[in-house]
Amino acid sequence: MSKQEHKTDRKKESGKKEEETGTGSKSAEKGKKIKEDLDKLMDKIDDVLEENAEEFVKNYVQKGGE
């Protein structure tokens, strides 16, 4: 690669700390949102899960493959 590209790359790296803090707080926010959203999903999950989970899982037997 050309020297110039290389320099831009390094510049990016030095600016990374800031970026990271930025994403850090954003991901904390996102994390909170996920928690709330997942609560909603949890309400639905029993409707989606196969009935007789225990039986279903027990009966799920595969032949080895590959």
């Binding site: 690669m1 590209e5 290389h6 790359d9 990271e20 991901s27 996102k30 994390g31 996920i34 928690k35 959203d37 997942l38 609560d39 999903l41 949890m42 639905k44 999950i45 989606v48 899960l49 196969e50 989970a53 225990e54 279903f56 899982v57 009966n59 799920y60 037997v61 595969q62 032949k63 080895g64 493959g65 590959e66």
Partner: protein, 492 residues
């Protein structure tokens, strides 16, 4: 990305709701024979160049080579318009992506494969409504039976297999921290655990071997390049999980391809001989805090994150001195970000990395239901995370409601169902099938055979996967009125 041919094979778990239903082999056959969008149902799979019994260590083991008769061949094999292959392997439906040149394309073609299989399910279930077929993109039934997800990378034949092995072992043992699909419990007589990172780790019993079905090895020595064997070897990687999360697939393929380039270029890499790789792969899988040390033969200890970082740093040093294209830059960036997050707190990756997404989902459910790890609904959630049905799949539900991050678009995936990649021989295979469906007699990775009438079959070898591309063959294929004309130009 440094140009490299890569692609994957996925075997799907298969179940029906009716215990009186067909056996899994017949169900798998029923499935693939109900895909409605094949250019031709007459195409045979050409087994001539196939020999999975050849070992890179220079010998061939005894065994029966697969050579089904024409009718059964057609039942077992479907050559797809996108250049990929849909088939039945043992008792599972299986999909191979067409040959691609970068990890993002493979990801898109994997997702296109899920779409193809979902459509098979839909159409097959119409015939036998009571036997609704369910497919899982996972690797285990939780009872000690595993089915595979295999990655394929063409590498320079002149690279000694020993140097591939030396670096790939520590890399494969540790890459599960971003490439694991997560699993409730343990199996194959391995130490019990509530939750582990990898679906497959429990099944690896040896370091190097030709086997894929029993005593599975971390490094598989199958020597079947499906290409010019003087120039290439195909690294057949059996140690990975099938992923649902796009980030997991993308970084897994991208980081592995980058490491292969460093090995091919003989670039200085960390010397990390693990004391006991088979034990370590299971220990890493059980270490969801990612803090446990892995012992090296020389007594040093590193965590899985540290091992991955050493390879990443070597890659950074390499690309300071070599041309860095956009895809490689992107893989390096995401690989690094994921390692940073894993080090801080893995749970930050609950939108990107499979084992974390699944763990978060299960933990939220446990909290809500006030239940413990022994609850049978958790094993159901584990399985159903991989369910391909839009109304039942838990990953699919997360994706639909945007709880997970994506790297592809629905449009790209839809396109990839019927269109081959443009930059490999898959373009020629897929395009010939679409333009001359009646004339294509048979195909394989390294050949395509045409029926030109008068009981004459003409074979076009495709031993160089970088040829047969759009730029080399599109004009010819578009202008040709007949297959004879195409063959004439290829000087057949």
């Amino acid at each position: 990305m440094i140009k490299r041919i890569l692609g994957t094979e996925t075997e799907f778990g298969i179940a029906t709701h009716n215990p009186e239903a067909l056996d899994p082999v017949s169900t798998s056959l029923l499935l693939i024979n109900n895909y409605p969008y094949l250019p031709s149902t007459r195409v045979l799979w050409d087994y001539e160049h196939e020999n999975p019994l050849l070992d890179v260590r220079g010998f061939e083991i005894e065994g029966e080579r697969e050579r089904p008769g024409p009718d059964y061949n057609r039942l077992l094999n479907k050559v797809l318009a996108n250049g990929g292959r849909l088939y039945v392997d043992g008792a599972h439906p299986e999909y191979s992506t067409p040959e691609c040149t970068n990890p993002r394309d493979v990801l898109i073609y994997e997702k296109a494969g899920d779409r193809i299989l979902s459509q098979c399910c839909e159409h097959a279930s119409r015939i036998k409504e009571q036997d609704k077929i369910v497919l899982y993109r996972n690797n285990t039934d939780g009872k000690g039976n595993s089915y595979g997800y295999h990655e394929n990378y063409l590498v320079d034949r002149t690279v000694p297999f020993e140097s591939l092995m030396k670096h790939l072992i520590p890399f494969f043992v540790t890459r599960q921290i971003y490439a694991g699909s997560g699993k409730v419990g343990a199996e194959n007589r391995m130490p019990p655990v509530s939750y582990q990172i990898s679906q497959r780790a429990d099944f690896f019993e040896t370091v190097v071997d030709l086997n894929t079905m029993v005593k599975r090895p971390i490094i598989n020595t199958r020597d079947e390049p499906h290409a010019d064997a003087v120039k290439y070897r195909r690294l057949h990687v059996i140690v990975g999980d099938a992923n649902m999360a796009e980030y997991s697939t993308y970084i897994k393929l991208g980081a592995t391809a980058i490491l292969l380039t460093l090995i091919e270029e003989n670039w200085p890499l960390p010397e990390l001989e693990l004391e006991d790789p088979v034990r370590s792969i299971k220990e890493v899988s059980r270490d969801i805090d990612l803090k446990a040390p892995i012992r090296l033969s020389d007594g040093r200890k590193f965590t899985a994150i540290e091992v991955q970082r050493l390879y990443l740093e070597a890659a950074h040093r390499f690309f300071e001195k070599h041309e860095l294209d956009q895809t490689t830059r992107d893989v390096l960036k995401k690989w690094e970000e994921v390692l940073d997050r894993l080090e801080e707190d893995p749970m930050q990756l609950s939108r990107q990395i499979d084992w974390v997404i699944k763990l978060k989902l299960i933990q939220s459910y446990m909290e809500r239901k006030k239940c413990g790890w022994g609850d049978s609904r958790l094993a159901m959630m584990d399985l159903q995370y991989h369910d391909l049905r839009p109304e039942k799949g838990l990953y699919t539900a997360l994706e639909k409601d945007q709880y997970v991050d994506r790297l592809t678009t629905d449009r790209e995936i839809e396109q990839a169902e019927q269109n081959p990649p443009t930059d490999t021989r898959a373009y020629f295979r897929g395009s010939c099938l679409k333009k001359f469906p009646k004339e294509v007699y048979a195909a394989s990775w390294s050949s395509i055979l045409f029926d030109v009438g008068n009981t004459t079959i003409k074979k076009v070898p495709l031993m160089e996967p970088f040829r047969g591309t759009e730029s080399l063959t599109r004009t010819l294929l578009e202008s040709a009125q007949s297959i004879e004309e195409v063959l004439g130009h290829l000087s057949m």
